[in-house]
Amino acid sequence: MTLIDNHEAVGMEGAPRLSEASARDYFELLKPRVMSLVVFTAFAGLVLAPGQINPFIGFIAILCIAVGAGASGALNMWYDADIDAVMSRTAKRPIPAGKILPEEALAFGLTLSAFSVIILGLAVNWLAAGLLAFTIFFYAVIYTMWLKRSTPQNIVIGGAAGAFPPMIGWACVTGGLSIESIVLFLITFLWTPAHFWALALFKMRDYGAVGVPMMPNVCGEGTTKKQIVIYAVLTALIGICPTLLGFASLGYGAFATVMGLGFVWYSIGVLRMPEGDERMVPAKKLFAFSIAYLFAIFSALVVDHVIAQVWLNAGGIA
């Protein structure tokens, strides 16, 4: 038997492995940057939904959605540790860096998944909890374990996982689904391919080295660029749907049109990029703009809704 000197832990036979992972390493497993997008879009769904929710319950809803998304990120890192170790973008993640063991990440991801779904169900409602559970399953199993390594359409279908949060936020308030929440879902869903393929273009070698069939590696740069433009146009069109369906103002519609035209403009820049361009500046610009686009669209929807509410209340008082 092996005993730690200050009687704090008893190990197994042989040299015990003592973790040097800090709380920050575990936080990194949650993919905080992706989580920030999830928090933001879920918040937008929560605000835009008709009806009232207690602010603290609303906070718990956002927290559970964020933790659930983070848990699916941890499960993704557990499964993808082998390819993460090879790709420059992911080689410093906690598992390939040797800070956290894959089985520790698996346990962490499963525990957080269960806690986030159960607490969301108990504190808010079970439809929202069911959607969160489905989102985690979709990202960890359908996308990570199945689609990612088997088809160049991986992120088109897998993008649904990242698009569910505003729908969950909506379900937290209303207890149901509606055409408006489906539009919110479609904005992120149709945005994902152009966003990810822009990244895949300038990280093509990385994906090629680990055998992940991303669109540029499998179908070539030309096809990818054309599909980027198609998805940018679709994103721009769905971006103005909130106005067409009557749950956002004309002001929002004008803003979404300008942003959509910007998205299409940058995608055309990628289309015009010469084949074999080493620096891939237009692809990097599109990638950066795509992030700004999504934040701007959801911000505009929230601001537009808040202004409409204030206007309505002021009219009611007068």
């Binding site: 005993l3 730690i4 000197d5 015990p16 003592l18 992972a21 800090s22 575990y26 607490i119 504190a123």
Partner: protein, 46 residues
Amino acid sequence: METVKLSDSQRKSRRSRNIALGLVLAGLVALFYVVTLIKFGNGMVH
């Protein structure tokens, strides 16, 4: 009986994990307390 000495970095990282876990547990207690007040508070008043 063989003893194992923790290195400084092992001790430091374990402390960081313990503090984080403690904060999470305290947060869960507070969360369930407030949710209970919100969910049952109205019913108890009436």
